[in-house]
Amino acid sequence: MKRKISSIGLNVFLLVLGLVTVYPFIWMLSSSFKQNKEIMALEQHLLPQQFIIENYINMNAHFNFIRFFGNSLLITLVTTVLVLYTSTICGFVLSKYKFKGRDLLFGFVLSTMMIPWCVTIIPKYSMIQAFGWMDSYAALIIPAAFSGFGIFMMKQHIASIPDEIIEAARIDGANEFYIFHKIIFPMAKNGISSIAIFQFLWAWEDYLWPYLVINSQEKQLLAVGLKMFNGQYSTDYGALFAATTISIIPVLIIYLFFQKRFIAGIAASAVKG
């Protein structure tokens, strides 16, 4: 009985909090179907009084939506997969191997995250220009191949995997490459899933860097296209909200997909237990 009450109480609490969380989101979604004068009207209604879809339709009038979308998906997936691999292997080395300079190296990795992008983006641009990578996807993919955030996350995560498992594999004669790929990588999947979620989000939303280095319209990314649209209508709230809604759908799908990985993770642990 007591359990039932606390169950209801907790559910209600989470539901109320959930409502507070989604309200601004629903407001934005609903506003994306409104004219600007209705979004700003003195009489506010949550639902559109005059339902319009122009905010969505106009998007395709100014750039090739499908093309930009495909480019974004490609770049985002490639960088995300790269980052997942590099983060996991660096995290493994930094957490399970002991060697001189390890903490220093990790300190370096962390400290690169502490300098605001405002002051490094233009030097980075000059370097990419010197490498001759302008207007190529190398400029988007290669500099993004390692992530301080990802390495830090995986270092923390892999540290919680007991050393005994690795030792046991070594005694069985497994070499380190085997241990990493066949033992550590699968065991770290919860950590990998959570970086995947964020790395995908960041790569998908990244706008200024692709805008600066990509010139050809055929190669341009969706985040840039949507911003182009916002820039023209800098106070066009309806268009901004429509563009935002469109752009977060793939991210939500990725999230729901990796959520399943989480659940698979629990199931596996439960079976083991």
Binding site: M114, P116, V119, P123, H157, T244, L252, F262
Partner: protein, 292 residues
Amino acid sequence: MFKKSYPLQSKSEILLRNIVVAVMVVFFSVFLIAPIVIAFAGSFHEWNPLSGTYRFLGLENYKNVFTSQLFGTSMINTVIFSVVVIIFRVGLGLGIACAINSVLIKHKSFFRAVYYMPVVTPMVAVAFVWKFMYNPQIGVINQILGTSINWLKDPNLALPAVIVMTIWKDFGYAVVMYMAGLYSLPMDVMEAAKVDGASSWQNFRYITLPLLKPMTLFVVITSIISYIQAYVQILIMTEGGPGTATYLASYIIYDEAFVKYNFGYASALSFVLFVITAVFTWLSFRVSGTES
């Protein structure tokens, strides 16, 4: 100390280590350290890469940082902003992750998706939505409270208003991270504790929480790093106003670099901020005691 103080290492271990460390060093040097070094050199110059200005100033930019009253007040705002948001982010994130994880909740994936929504929404759009919600005449917050407070123009309320918005936007990140941490907890330990008759509070306090410490450290440190650099919400919601009431240090950096094109001064500010961030990060490692 010339003697190798580490346990015996296999050939493949040394090989893997060397490859990974070498690639990391090269990559970070080229794509991250080199631009930082260029910016650091720029911090001693009057520097506008867009117009091509580059003139040696010595320490003047740094002198200006430390004598700037605005930088002082913005630093206080930055600390208040970061500390409050991080406390709520960690507290809410941990609490909600545990709640969702508890056996009392059935629709786990529903709640996870709900709390994650603000995280995936770009800050620019979110900041505009909240600006509407804070509007003194048509904002939903005043409608619910039955007031007509000018939240973003009141020097005492503007920063708290931005803080509330940031907590709303970001606590879902901590929820996701803690969920990953909770799912990775060794089940056998938890089961053993239950068999021993530990109450759920004891269970949480003495088993779950310590096991989540690496994750907490991770969330706190990434939060410190990102909040010390947060500026988009300020740019859209208050532009630092009213007056200079909501200036954050990072907003000054953005403003100096991309509005006033004083990249030299912006770089000097960045490196001062870097030292502060590094100190806080180091302190977090020390407090958590996991440095070794």
